[in-house]
Amino acid sequence: MTLTDKIKKNKYFFFTFKLIRFLIILFLLDFSIGQGLKHFYFKQQIGRQYRALYSLEKTNEDILIFGSSRAYNNYVPDVFEARLKQTCYNTGSAGQFILYDYASLKAILNRYAPKLIFLDLIPGEFRIENDSYQRLSFLLPFYNKDTAIRSVVNLKGPFKKFKLYSSIYPYNSTLVELAAGNTAYYKSRNAVEKGYKAITGIWNSPISTETPQPYPLDTLKINIFKSFIRDCQKAGTKLIVVCSPTYMNVNSGDYSILAAEKIAKEQNVLLLDFTNDAFFNSHPELFDEPLHLNKKGSQVFTNILIDKTIGK
C-alpha cells in the first residue's frame, strides 16, 4: 500500500492532506503576487498612494500641511514657499482624519523635524465613528516597514495581524491606482502641486444655516490629538491648528472644535477657527462647495492664514 493509499483510507488524514495541498498553492500564489504588488506600490510616481508614500518616506520640507481633503484642497504650498522662502508640502488626504495624520506625523518625525506644521481639523473630527479607524487600511503597505505606523494601524482592531499573514491583503483594492501610479496615465488629468490639488468649481447657491447637534466624543481620537501636539513640541516643530473656512452660518460651536480649542489653549498652541468667518461667508465665489475652497479661494485663504500667523 502506497503512502497516498494510506492517506486516502483515513478520511481525516485525506481531508487534512487536501487542505494542506490547497493552502500551499494558495500561499505560493499569495506570496508571489504580493511581492509583485509591493514592488509596484513603492515604485509609483503619481497618485494618492504616491502622495502617501512621499509624505511618509520622502518629505524633507520645512513646512508641512496635515489634514483631510480640506487640507488637500485649501492650502497652497506655492504660496507658502513664495512668501516665506521655505519649502512646503501638503500631506492632506481625502477622507482621512486625525488618526491618519498622527500615523504620518510619527513616520515623518522618525526621519526629521519640520520647522512648521499646519494641522487642519474638520467639524466632527473627534466624532465616534468606526469608519475612521477602518480607513487606516490605506497605511497597510507600510505596516511591516514602520513601527510608528504599526502602532496606529493596530487601532483598527485585534484581528489585523491575522489578515496580514497574506502578502496581498495590504494592497487590497489598489490594483487600478497601482497601474495608474506606475504609468503616466493620470499625469495629465491629475495635476497635483506639492501635494495640493486645486478644484475649479464655483459655488452659487445661497448660504445655509447649520445648528450642530451634540454628539459624544471619541476619547481615543482626543488623546491622539494631544499626542500630536506633544510629539511636535518634543521635536521642536511649531504647530498651528486650523479649522479652515466653510460657506455656511453655524449657530453654535462644533463639539470637536470646541474640545480642540480647549486642548490647544492648555498646551499653548495657536488654533485658528475660520468657521463663520465674515469675509469667506460673503464670498461664495471662493468655494467649490460649502466645505471646500476652489483654486482662487485656496490662494486667498493661504495668504490670509500666513498674514494671521507667521507673516504678521
Partner: protein, 484 residues
C-alpha cells in the same frame, strides 16, 4: 456576528471541530448550545424573544396533535399563530405603526386645529428588532400549519425543536427551513464526510466572493448615489438603480450560499434560496427563483389557500391572491409604505403576465428563441430594478423623485475622480455573470471548479481567494469620496 468577520470564522472553526469530536447523540445539543451563544452574542437581552416563540409553538404543536380535529385543536392553533404574529408585529412593525400614528396625529392637528406645532415622534422608544425574528416566526407558523393540516407530527423533544428554530447558519438570512425537512436530519448522528466538507467550503468561498467582491463593492457606489440622491441626476442614478439589483442579489444569495455551506459542513442539507433569478425570462419565473424558501412559504400558506377559498371567482381568484400575497410579502420585507408599493408592483406585473400568458405564448412562437430570451431577461431585470427603487428609498416621494431624475440624462458615471471602485465593480459582475451563464446554459461543459484534475480545481479556488484579496471590500475602510 457577520459571516465574513474573523470572529465568526474562529467561532465556526471551533464549533465544527468539536462537533465531529463529539459522539453522534450529543451533536444536536452542541449545535443548540452554539446557536444560543451565537444569538446571545448579537444581543443577550433579546434571547427571551425566540425562547417565547419556541415554548409557545412547541407546546401548541403537541396540544394540536393531541386534540386532533376538534375545536380545541383549532383554539391552540389560533392562539399560537396569533402569539407568533404578535411578536413579529411588535418587534418589527411597532416603530412603523407608532410613527404613522404620530404623522396622522400631526396631520389632523394641523388641519383641524390649524396649529403648526408638531409633536415630535423622536420621543418614542425605538424598538430593536431581534436577530432572525422573521425567519424564526415564519418557520414556527409553518410548523403549526403543517401539524394542524395533519401533514406532520409534532416534535416531542423541546431540545431538538429549539435547535431547529435557532440553528445558527440560517438565523441571519434564512432560508426558511421546513421542520419536516430539517428535524429528521437533526436526529441523525453525523460522521465526517470529505465530500460534504469540501462542498460546504466551496459554497462558503463562493458566498464570500459574492458578498465581498460584488455586494460590498457595489454598495459603495449605490450608497454614495442613492443616499444623497438629491445631488445626482440621470446616469449615476440609473447606474445605481441597476447596481442595486445586483448588490441585493449578491449580498442575499452570498449569505444564502454561506448558510448552505456551513450547514453542509455539519452534514445538513438545507434549501438553496436562489437559483440564478437574474437570468429569469419573466417576473413569474423570477419569483420561483428568488428567495425560494420565502416564495414557497407564501405559496403554501397564503397564496394557495386564498386561491382555493375564492375558486368560484375563476381566474380572478388568482389575481386576488397575487395582490394579497405580494402586498403582505412586501410588508414582510420592512415596515414602510415603500415595501408595500414594491409588493404591489410585483402583484401588478404577475397579474399582467398571468392574464396575457396565452397571447404572449403565441407571440413568442413568431420570434427567434434567443431574442425571446434576451428580451425576457432584460425586461424582468429592468422591471425588478424599477420596483427596487421603492424598496431602497426612504419614502414614496423620494422614490418618485429618483425615477423622475433618471429621465434627465445628465451626470457622469464616474462620481469620483478615481474610477477604481467602478472598475472593480464591473470585474466582479463579469465573473458572476460568466459563472451564472455557465451554470444556466452550459452545465455539462468544461468546468474549472469541478475539473477532474485536482491541480486545476485547486488553482481555480485559489484564484477565487486571490480575487477576493485583491478587489474584495475586506473591511469598512473603503469609501467613495464624493464632493458636491
Amino acid at each position: 456576528m457577520l459571516y465574513t468577520s474573523i470572529i465568526f470564522v474562529l467561532f465556526f472553526l471551533s464549533v465544527s471541530i468539536l462537533y465531529y469530536l463529539l459522539p453522534g447523540k450529543f451533536q444536536w445539543l452542541w449545535l443548540l448550545i452554539s446557536s444560543l451563544l451565537f444569538y446571545v452574542y448579537s444581543n443577550p437581552a433579546y434571547i427571551f424573544v425566540p425562547a417565547f416563540i419556541i415554548l409557545t409553538t412547541y407546546y401548541a404543536g403537541i396540544q394540536i396533535e393531541k386534540a386532533g380535529s376538534s375545536k380545541k385543536a383549532f383554539k391552540y392553533y389560533l392562539i399560537a399563530v396569533i402569539a407568533n404574529i404578535a411578536v413579529l408585529v411588535f418587534f418589527k412593525y411597532s416603530n412603523f405603526f407608532t410613527s404613522t400614528a404620530f404623522d396622522f396625529l400631526n396631520f389632523s392637528r394641523q388641519h383641524l386645529f390649524k396649529t403648526t406645532e408638531i409633536i415630535n415622534n423622536s420621543l418614542l422608544v425605538k424598538v430593536f428588532v431581534p436577530l432572525g425574528i422573521s425567519y424564526i416566526t415564519f418557520q414556527a407558523i409553518g410548523y403549526l400549519i403543517e401539524i394542524k393540516r395533519g401533514n406532520h407530527t409534532a416534535e416531542k423533544s423541546l431540545g431538538h425543536f429549539s435547535a431547529y428554530l435557532l440553528f445558527f447558519p440560517k438565523i441571519t438570512a434564512g432560508p426558511i427551513e421546513r421542520a419536516h425537512h430539517f428535524l429528521p436530519q437533526l436526529k441523525q448522528a453525523k460522521i465526517f464526510e470529505n465530500e460534504n466538507v469540501s462542498a460546504g467550503l466551496k459554497l462558503i468561498l463562493w458566498g464570500f466572493f459574492k458578498k465581498l467582491v460584488i455586494a460590498d463593492r457595489l454598495a459603495l457606489y449605490v450608497s454614495a448615489v442613492l443616499d444623497k440622491s438629491e445631488n445626482f441626476s440621470g446616469i449615476p442614478l440609473l447606474l445605481a438603480a441597476i447596481f442595486y439589483v445586483i448588490q441585493l442579489y449578491a449580498d442575499f444569495s452570498g449569505y444564502a450560499d454561506m448558510a448552505v455551506g456551513f450547514a453542509k459542513i455539519f452534514g445538513f442539507d438545507i434549501i438553496q434560496n436562489f437559483n440564478r433569478p437574474l437570468l429569469s425570462k419573466s417576473v413569474t419565473e423570477f419569483w420561483r427563483k428568488w428567495h425560494i424558501s420565502l416564495s414557497s412559504w407564501f405559496t403554501d400558506y397564503f397564496y394557495t389557500p386564498i386561491v382555493i377559498a375564492k375558486r368560484d371567482w375563476g381566474k380572478w381568484s388568482v389575481v386576488y391572491a397575487f395582490i394579497i400575497t405580494f402586498v403582505v410579502l412586501g410588508f414582510w420585507h420592512g415596515a414602510n409604505w415603500t415595501f408595500m408599493v414594491f409588493g404591489a408592483l410585483q402583484a401588478l406585473i404577475l397579474t399582467m403576465e398571468f392574464l396575457t400568458r396565452k397571447i404572449r405564448k403565441g407571440f413568442r412562437k413568431k420570434i427567434p428563441g434567443f431574442i425571446n430570451t434576451i428580451a425576457g431577461i432584460a425586461f424582468t431585470f429592468a422591471y425588478f430594478a424599477f420596483s427596487l427603487i421603492f424598496f431602497r428609498a426612504n419614502s414614496i416621494s423620494e422614490a418618485m423623485t429618483i425615477i423622475q431624475k433618471i429621465g434627465i440624462s445628465k451626470g457622469s458615471v464616474f462620481i469620483e475622480s478615481n474610477p477604481s471602485s467602478l472598475i472593480y465593480s464591473f470585474l466582479g459582475i463579469l465573473v458572476l455573470l460568466l459563472v451564472e451563464m455557465k451554470l444556466e446554459y452550459y452545465k455539462g461543459s468544461f468546468s474549472f471548479f469541478y475539473h477532474r484534475h485536482w491541480l486545476v480545481r485547486n488553482l481555480s479556488y485559489a484564484a477565487l481567494v486571490i480575487i477576493i484579496l485583491l478587489i474584495g471590500v475586506l473591511d469598512g475602510g473603503q469609501f467613495i469620496y464624493v464632493q458636491f
